[in-house]
C-alpha cells in the first residue's frame, strides 16, 4: 500500500520542462531521499505533491485514492506537512504565532487563546533545543532556530507524510542531530518522509530509499543502501563514474596557507559590537584561506559584515594591506579591496530583476565608465571574462539573474566580487544550497583565488568543507574567539572539540 504516489506527472514553466513524466512512490514509514542537481526539479515535484502547483499532466494518488490538492492548505488538512526549501515562516510574527498559524488554540468565544498558545509553543520548542522567548519576533532568531520552528510546525500536526526540502542547509551539527532524532521518531510511527538534501552523508545516515531526478526526469529509484555513493553522484550528474571518482569529497586541493612570512593583507583587531562580538581579532595573509568556525549564532556573519562595513561596530581596528580602514562602510570597504559575499544570496546578494551582465558589473561601474557614461565594450570585456572563468551557465548575459539556478546565481555574485579586484574575499556560506557540481566548481575557484594571492575568509557550516578548504580556522563562540586551529590541527575532530570546550569569556 502506497501512502503517496504520483504517476507520470509533468510540470511546464515558460521555457522549462521542470518535471517530465516523473513517477514517485512513498510508503508508510519510509524515509525517502529525493536527490538531483540544482534545477533537477526536486522542489517542483514537492510543490506538485503539496498543492502549490497543479501538474500539467499525470496523476496524484494519496492513500490509494486519486487526490487533488488545490492549495497547500488542502494538502495540509489531508495530512501532508511540508518544510519548504526557503525557510517559509513569517519573520515579523512571534515564534508562537508562526508555530500555530492557522490552527491557533481558541477559547470558548472563538478567540485565540494566547496564553495557551505561548505555553504550548514553549513546550514544543524546548523539545527541539530552541529555548527562546516564544513571543519574540521569529525574524530575530538565527536561521537555524527558524528552521527548527518550521520543523516543529510541520511535525506538530497529525501528519501522515512529512516532506523536507533541504532542511539542513542552514542547520548546525547539533541541530542536525535533533532533526535526525525527529525523523527516526516519525519513521517509527509509520509516517512517510520525503527528504531532500545535497549533503550525501546525511542521506546515507537516515534514508532507506532514494529517487534521483535529472533535468526534470526520473533517472533512478530504489534502495539507497544498494547504491554506491559514487554511483549516486554519477547518476545525479549524468557523468561517468570514473570521472566522478577522481574528484573526492570536496574540490579543495589542499589547505591554502599562503606565504607564512608575508605581512597580513587583512588585520582585524578587537572588534566589538554589543551582544554580538567581543574582541574578535585575527589576521589573513595573502594567499591564505582562513576559516571561521563555530555554531550558528556564534557571530561569524556579524564578523564578516562588520569588516565589510555593513554591521555596526562599537570599536575595533581593521587594516587592509597596512592601511587603516576607519569607520568602515560598504563603499569604503570596497575601495579598500574588501569584497563580501553575504550569507543570504537572495535577499542581500543578487539583484534578481537585472541581467547577468548588469549584476556582474554593478560594483565596478565607475571603472568601466567615462564621465558617468557606461562603456558597453568595457563592461562586456569584464562580463565575458568572468562568465568564462566561472563557467556561468546563462542563456545570454542579458538573462535576468533571478531566472538562473542557485549555483549560477552564486557564481554571478562571485563574479561581481572578483570584478572589483579585491585583496580580501569574505565568503559567508559560499556553497549553501548549491548542487554537487556547482559546489565543486566554487570550491576549486576559492583555491585558485587564494593561489593568486588573495586573502580569503571562509564561513561554512559544512565542517568538512571548512577543514579541507582552510589553512587555518578561527573558532568563534558567542562572539568570542575561543581558539585557532593551525597546521595539522585543522581537522573536523579538533574543530568539534574546540567548539565544545567550555569557554571562559575574558572581558
Amino acid at each position: 500500500m502506497a501512502l503517496l504516489e504520483v504517476n507520470d506527472v509533468s510540470k511546464i514553466f515558460p521555457g522549462v520542462r521542470a518535471l517530465d513524466q516523473v513517477s514517485f512512490t512513498l510508503q508508510p514509514g519510509q524515509v525517502h531521499a529525493l536527490v538531483g542537481e540544482n534545477g533537477a526539479g526536486k522542489s517542483t515535484l514537492i510543490k506538485v505533491l503539496t498543492g502549490v502547483y497543479q501538474p500539467d499532466g499525470g496523476e496524484l494518488r494519496y492513500q490509494d485514492a486519486p487526490a487533488q490538492f488545490g492549495t497547500p492548505m488542502d494538502a495540509q488538512q489531508a495530512g501532508i506537512s511540508t518544510i519548504y526549501q526557503e525557510v517559509n515562516l513569517v519573520p515579523l510574527m512571534s515564534v508562537a504565532q508562526n508555530l500555530f498559524l492557522g490552527r491557533e488554540p481558541r477559547t470558548g468565544l472563538g478567540l485565540i487563546d494566547r496564553k495557551r498558545m505561548d505555553r504550548e509553543a514553549r513546550e514544543i520548542l524546548t523539545g527541539y533545543g530552541v529555548t527562546t522567548d516564544v513571543r519574540r519576533q521569529l525574524g530575530t532568531l538565527a536561521l537555524g532556530a527558524q528552521q527548527m520552528v518550521a520543523l516543529a510546525r510541520a511535525v506538530m500536526v497529525d501528519a501522515k507524510v512529512v516532506i523536507m526540502d533541504e532542511p539542513t542547509s542552514s542547520l548546525e551539527p547539533r541541530e542536525v542531530q535533533t532533526l535526525f532524532g525527529v525523523i527516526r521518531d516519525l519513521h517509527a510511527r509509520g509516517i512517510g518522509i520525503v527528504y531532500v538534501s545535497h549533503r550525501l552523508d546525511e542521506l546515507y545516515q537516515i534514508c532507506d530509499t532514494v529517487t534521483i531526478l535529472r533535468d526534470g526526469k526520473l533517472v533512478h529509484t530504489g534502495k539507497l543502501a544498494a547504491l554506491e555513493r559514487i554511483k549516486l553522484v554519477s547518476l545525479m550528474l549524468g557523468r561517468d563514474m570514473a570521472e566522478v571518482r577522481r574528484e573526492g569529497a570536496t574540490a579543495f586541493s589542499g589547505a591554502a596557507t599562503g606565504d607564512t612570512d608575508a605581512p597580513p593583507v587583512l588585520r582585524v583587531r578587537e572588534l566589538n559590537s554589543r551582544h554580538k562580538l567581543h574582541d574578535v581579532s585575527f589576521d589573513v595573509r595573502p594567499g591564505e584561506v582562513v576559516g571561521l568556525g563555530g555554531l550558528l549564532g556564534a557571530g561569524r556573519s556579524e564578523t564578516i559584515k562588520a569588516i565589510g562595513g555593513a554591521y555596526h561596530l562599537d570599536s575595533g581596528d581593521i587594516q587592509v594591506d597596512g592601511k587603516d580602514l576607519k569607520k568602515p562602510t560598504p563603499v569604503r570597504a570596497v575601495e579598500f579591496g574588501i569584497a563580501v559575499q553575504p550569507e543570504d544570496r537572495k535577499a542581500e546578494g543578487i539583484v534578481p530583476g537585472l541581467s547577468v551582465r548588469e549584476n556582474i558589473a554593478l560594483a565596478v561601474l565607475p571603472r568601466v565608465s567615462r564621465f558617468g557614461f557606461v562603456s558597453d565594450s568595457k563592461v562586456n570585456e569584464i562580463v565575458d571574462r568572468y562568465i568564462k572563468r566561472l563557467r556561468i551557465k546563462a542563456s545570454s548575459p542579458d538573462q535576468a539573474v533571478g531566472d538562473l539556478s542557485g549555483g549560477n546565481q552564486q557564481k554571478v555574485l562571485l563574479a561581481r566580487l572578483l570584478a572589483t579586484d579585491p585583496k580580501v574575499l569574505l565568503l559567508d556560506e559560499p556553497t549553501r544550497g548549491i548542487d554537487v557540481g556547482a559546489k565543486a566548481e566554487v570550491q576549486s575557484l576559492i583555491d585558485e583565488l587564494a593561489a593568486e594571492g588573495l586573502g580569503v575568509v571562509l564561513v561554512s557550516s559544512d565542517a568538512e568543507e571548512l577543514v579541507e578548504g582552510s589553512g587555518r580556522v578561527v573558532v568563534l563562540r558567542d562572539g568570542v574567539v575561543v581558539g585557532t586551529l593551525t597546521g595539522n590541527r585543522v581537522t573536523t575532530e579538533d574543530l568539534m572539540a574546540t567548539i565544545a570546550t567550555e569557554a571562559t569569556r575574558e572581558h
Partner: protein
C-alpha cells in the same frame, strides 16, 4: 509528432501575444483610441489638434519622468505638485532679475525640496510616501505664503516664449519635454547613475553590500524628480502666462503616477520604462481629450479613466517571477 506541432501553433501565438501585450499594450491602446477618434471626432486628425495634445501633455510627461525614476527605486514622490507651486511662486519674484535668474531660482527651489525628500528617505529612513507627504501638505502652503496668495500675470515675452513659442514649427514646450525624455532615457540606460538606481530598486540590501553609494543615489533621484517638477512648474507658468501657486500642479502627482504605471513601470522598483511613461501620459491625455471633445460630464470621464487604467495595468502586469 505532426499533431503536436499543429496543436502547439495557436498556443505559441497566444503566448506570443501574452508576452507582447505587457510591453506594447499601451501603444496599442493609443492606436485604438486614435483610430476611434479619427472616425468619430470631428477635426481630430489635424496638426493643430496634435499640437494641442502634445502641449497639454508636456508638463505631465516631465513630472512623470521624475516620478518614473523615483518609482524605479521603489519609492514614490507625492510632493511634485507642491514643487511646481513653489517654482511658480518664485518666478514672478525674480523675473525682474532676468529670465535666467528666475529659472535658476525656481530650479533651486526644486533642488531644496528634493534634498529634503531625499534625506528623509535615504538618511532618516522614512518610507517615501510619508516622507513626501509632509512636503505635499506643507510645500504648497509655503508657495502660497511666498506669493502672498497673489496670482501674478507674467508679461515677460522671453519667458512666455517657453510656454507659447515655436521652434521649427514645433512648440518650445514640446521640444523641452522631448529633450528631457531623451536625457532621462539616456541616463537610465547608459549611465552609472541609471544602473545604480535600478539596482537599488531591484534589491536595496544587495546594492548596499555591493558598495554602491545608495544614499547618494537616492538623494540624487529625489532631487532629479523635484527639479523636473520645478521645470514643469515654470513651463506651466509660461504657458498659462500667470503664476498662481494655489492651483498650478494640483493633483498632478496622481496623473504622473498613473502615467508611469500605465506605461508599464512596476511600483515595485528595479525597472524604469521611459518611453512607456510617455505613452502612458499620452494615453491618459487622449482619454481626457476624447471625453471633452464629446462633451461628456466629469462623472463619465472619471469612470472611463478608472476602467482604462485598470485595463492598461491589467494587461501590462508583471508575470509572476519566482
Amino acid at each position: 509528432m505532426s499533431t503536436e506541432t499543429v496543436a502547439a501553433r495557436p498556443l505559441a501565438d497566444a503566448a506570443k501575444i501574452k508576452a507582447w501585450l505587457p510591453k506594447y499594450g499601451v501603444y496599442a491602446a493609443i492606436v485604438l483610441l486614435v483610430v476611434y477618434n479619427i472616425f468619430f471626432t470631428p477635426y481630430f486628425a489635424t496638426w493643430s489638434n496634435l499640437r494641442i495634445q502634445l502641449i497639454q501633455v508636456a508638463p505631465i510627461v516631465i513630472v512623470a519622468l521624475g516620478m518614473a525614476l523615483v518609482i524605479g527605486t521603489e519609492g514614490i514622490d507625492l510632493s511634485v505638485g507642491s514643487v511646481m507651486a513653489l517654482a511658480a511662486a518664485f518666478i514672478p519674484l525674480y523675473l525682474g532679475y532676468g529670465v535666467v535668474a528666475a529659472i535658476l531660482v525656481a530650479l533651486l527651489a526644486g533642488v531644496a525640496v528634493g534634498l529634503i525628500n531625499g534625506i528623509l528617505v535615504a538618511r532618516v529612513g522614512l518610507q517615501p510616501i510619508v516622507a513626501t507627504l509632509a512636503l505635499f501638505v506643507g510645500g504648497r502652503g509655503l508657495a502660497v505664503v511666498i506669493s502672498e496668495g497673489k496670482l501674478v500675470d507674467i508679461r515677460n515675452q522671453d519667458f512666455l516664449y517657453l510656454g507659447s513659442g515655436d521652434l521649427l514649427g514645433i512648440p518650445v514646450l514640446v521640444w523641452i519635454a522631448a529633450l528631457l525624455v531623451l536625457v532621462v532615457g539616456f541616463v537610465v540606460r547608459r549611465t552609472v547613475f541609471g544602473r545604480r538606481l535600478l539596482a537599488i530598486g531591484g534589491n536595496r540590501p544587495a546594492a548596499e553590500l555591493a558598495g554602491l553609494p545608495v544614499k547618494r543615489v537616492l538623494i540624487t533621484v529625489y532631487v532629479a524628480c523635484a527639479v523636473l517638477a520645478s521645470i514643469a512648474g515654470l513651463l506651466s507658468v509660461a504657458r498659462i502666462q500667470s503664476s498662481d501657486a494655489s492651483s498650478v500642479g494640483l493633483l498632478i502627482e496622481l496623473s504622473a503616477i498613473t502615467a508611469v504605471v500605465v506605461g508599464g513601470t512596476p511600483l515595485t522598483g528595479g525597472k524604469v520604462r521611459v518611453l512607456g511613461t510617455v505613452a502612458g501620459a499620452l494615453l491618459m491625455q487622449l482619454v481626457i481629450a476624447t471625453m471633452i471633445k464629446h462633451n461628456l460630464q466629469p462623472s463619465t470621464t472619471e469612470m472611463v479613466q478608472a476602467v482604462i487604467i485598470l485595463i492598461a495595468v491589467y494587461v501590462a502586469r508583471e508575470r509572476k517571477t519566482r
